[in-house]
Symmetry: C2
Subunit: 194 residues, 2 copies
């Protein structure tokens, strides 16, 4: 049976970005089968009645320092987004409608825009740049992310995650075991026998 | 100048217990100067307007699994306290009134009672056992923890920590840099140059 590591993410989450970059470094030879699982972190927090750390002054301050420290210790090119928490809704919907063969490219471009290049990814101009960089058809992309079916799909993926007891991002699932937070990537990979 | 690692803790915090045990293993030769800093975690959360994970069903479930996993990966003898979150107020006050030469012993006995031996440390009978094991005078101990000055001291230590931007436990401070959570013990020790 093929093993999988499920990786629940939202572009809004700096810890998801850091985990993604760490995983990239470890998975250069594509030995790990990763299932990227898009969810809306805000929606998940609402379902779980969780106040996100970004809404607490002290936690937010710690989060910035902590992310910068993790990035520096792991040689990850990271820049705290000055406008955090920027809404990632359009790009998360975008991830669902992008063709499979472009998903990985789109994923990386979005994450880098948010957490490497300090871009305002809620601004239409920057979304245009992401569309162009990925090589997508603009009209088709914008139409698709506005469809009710796309909105529903993201909502459903989020509530599916909630039903599985997931409450934050990044979350890794291996052999039905849940590992929450970029700090638990190592344990998830142990469970995967990597 | 002597270096110090400040270690903010509350016996109620399983992650503080795990960090303490990890630190014990690393510090067998007493090379690290540790300042144990008692605070009341509930009070700190109130000051910081933070809902503790123990009060969220999913976070609590994750916390139990996570602590057990950390303990197992680090060969720490740990048992989730079935009655968590048990009030640690008397023992935290106790830490303040115990003579300096018995503080370390008392500290370890309290932590083990809560997180190794699954005891109800809010129960007077168990507090008696802790008093006896440490070799304390019972009457003196109980009188001392009821004093207004003791209550005030713990409150003040908690609000001092809050003023320093500390919002959880364990928190480590080295060179005025704050490291939150047992996951950051390594970074704190890096800062200490250990």
């Amino acid at each position: 049976m093929t093993k999988y590591l499920d990786f629940y993410f939202d572009f809004i989450s700096p810890y998801s970005f850091l985990a993604f970059k760490k995983l990239n470094l470890l998975n250069r030879d594509n030995e790990i089968n990763i299932n990227y699982k898009p969810i809306l972190l805000g929606g998940l927090h609402n379902l779980g009645k969780i106040t996100p750390p970004a809404f607490n002054e002290r936690k937010l301050k710690n989060m910035k320092n902590d992310c910068e420290l993790i990035a520096s210790k792991n040689n990850i090119d990271f820049r705290w987004n000055a406008q955090f928490p920027l809404n990632s809704l359009y790009l998360m919907r975008g991830y669902l409608v992008v063709d499979d063969n472009l998903k990985k490219k789109f994923f990386e471009i979005c994450f880098d825009a948010y957490w490497k290049n300090n871009e305002d990814i809620s601004d239409e101009k920057n979304i245009d740049i992401i569309i162009n960089k990925t090589g997508l058809d603009k009209k088709n992309f914008l139409d698709s992310i506005k469809k009710d079916s796309t909105k529903e799909m993201l909502k459903n993926l989020t509530s599916d995650a909630f039903e599985k007891d997931i409450f934050g991002a990044p979350t890794f699932v291996v052999n039905n075991k849940i590992f929450w937070g970029q700090d638990r990537l190592d344990y998830a990979l142990d469970e995967y026998n990597f």
